[in-house]
């Protein structure tokens, strides 16, 4: 057995679990659903300046979309790209339904306590995110709209929001490529609009490895002119703060 560190890091986030990490620019983060019906609430911040963060409205209006899939990028409120969605077998990720709250979980699935249920008690997105934000020096004022990986919520013509049951299958995956150093915050908790009456039981595998350089024919760079300008803003930022573009 040698003592070299593997170039791939793999984590399993159990149902109800949470995780946060600083992840360097130029990594691929692949999320794989180990069972059907997954939902992972995700927040992203600029690791060096957490006042800059994923901005749902800027991301959606620049790409003329109300959901996220391959080719889309996740933009900050500074017109830059945090991460690109480079692979996706799911086809639709929700970014308008937010996170589950303690009140919502108790009312929908029944009240659970650690005292009675030990680690089987039902965690909420709200509390998971608050803990991980606080761990990283942030507060509840830093809460903002999350991305719910693996979930589909669409709006009808009147604006009513509809959750699609059975949207993601076991083994499906989505890959983000980091375009700047990010703080990633995850909560593996139910989508607030989930129509099922049972608390989700879907573990998620997170695999992180080095990404290939972004080439001129990159699907996310080419997706829209807006995406290219956001990449250009990001590259300028990297030039100014990191001493160049690798």
């Amino acid at each position: 057995m040698n003592n070299t560190v593997s170039s791939i890091i793999t984590k399993t986030i159990p149902a109800g679990g949470k995780w946060s990490a600083r992840i360097q620019r130029g990594k691929e983060i692949t999320f794989t659903a180990l069972e059907a019906g997954a939902n992972v609430s995700l927040l992203l911040y600029n690791a060096d300046d957490t006042a800059e963060r994923y901005n749902m409205p800027d991301t959606l209006k620049a790409q003329y979309t109300a959901f996220l899939t391959k080719g889309n990028v996740l933009m900050t409120d500074h017109g830059r790209v945090l991460a690109s969605l480079v692979e996706d077998t799911v086809g639709w990720h929700d970014t308008i339904s937010g996170y589950s709250t303690r009140k919502m979980i108790d009312e929908k699935y029944g009240k659970t306590t650690y005292q009675e249920h030990r680690n089987e008690w039902y965690r909420s997105g709200e509390e998971n995110l608050m803990v991980e934000l606080f761990r990283n020096g942030l507060t509840t004022c830093d809460l903002s709209p999350v991305i719910n990986l693996f979930s589909k919520v669409y709006c009808d013509e009147e604006g009513n929001m509809n959750f699609v049951e059975g949207h993601s299958k076991k083994g499906e995956s989505v890959t983000l490529r980091t375009e700047m150093d990010v703080l990633l915050v995850l909560s593996n908790t139910p989508n607030p609009l989930d129509t099922r009456n049972t608390y989700l039981s879907t573990p998620i595998e997170v695999k992180i490895k080095g990404a290939e350089p972004v080439l001129e024919n990159d699907i996310c760079l080419k997706h829209r002119d807006e995406n290219r300008r956001a990449f250009e803003n990001t590259w300028e930022y990297v030039m100014l703060t990191k001493g160049g573009i690798q």
Partner: protein, 216 residues
């Protein structure tokens, strides 16, 4: 609920306790007490009033666009919509609306998002997020950019289609249309009367809004 929900108000302007015209490109920060009513009038039509709300007692608790639409399970705001903070606290309720639909998905314009959406040379142009930041800088030295969150765009039409499309449409508003909200708890209201010159939603012509307050 919350779709083209047209309700007129019986309040008379001459009975108001506050009345101010806010020109485009200008900001406004004001705290309304429980029971007080704020009317925002789209004076010339098709203007966007970008608005944020804070719990006046705990300004770190900001308006939550997503929790608000989640609670009513509908992305548009209109009469009956209760606007809530990130904590779930109720801030204001829309009690009259002659426009019928308001956006809270599209967010505010910024110099940086303008460079992405239009072109790099729009960076120097005036924008809502600068207005928000100037007002907050003057308001409370403890607030920072981290307290800015996705906002309401009163009078703005941002349709989302069942297929997941999103676009900025010509407004459903017209001259004199208004929205009226009553404070449930003491609420600090932050408005940027949008100066956007790159978007056809206001015919490239930002115009004034009128802000009128009644004590009940």
């Amino acid at each position: 609920m919350a779709v083209l929900n047209y309700v007129e108000s019986e309040r008379k302007v001459e009975e108001a306790i506050y009345n101010k015209k806010l020109l485009s490109g200008e900001g406004w920060l004001y705290t309304i007490e429980p029971g007080e009513v704020l009317r925002i009038v789209d004076v010339e039509g098709n203007q966007a009033a970008d608005t944020l709300f804070y719990d006046a007692d705990h300004p770190s608790d900001h308006y939550s666009a997503i929790n608000t639409i989640l609670r009513q399970r509908n992305i548009y705001l209109s009469t009956g919509s209760v606007l809530i903070a990130e904590s779930g606290k109720e801030l204001v309720k829309i009690i009259a609306d002659t426009c019928g639909r308001h956006d809270t998905i599209g967010g505010a314009c910024s110099a940086q998002s303008n460079t992405v959406r239009y072109s790099h040379d729009t960076l120097p142009m005036h924008n809502c997020r600068d207005t928000f930041m100037l007002q907050m800088a003057k308001f409370d030295k403890r607030t920072t950019k981290r307290d800015l969150a996705p906002n309401v765009n009163f009078f703005m039409n941002v349709p989302v289609t069942p297929a997941g499309g999103l676009r900025f449409d010509d407004g459903v508003s017209a001259p004199g249309y208004y929205v009226e909200m009553q404070a449930i708890n003491a609420t600090t209201v932050l408005i940027s009367n949008c100066p956007q010159l790159n978007n056809p939603c206001n015919a490239y012509n930002p115009t004034p809004i009128q802000l009128i307050i009644w004590d009940k």
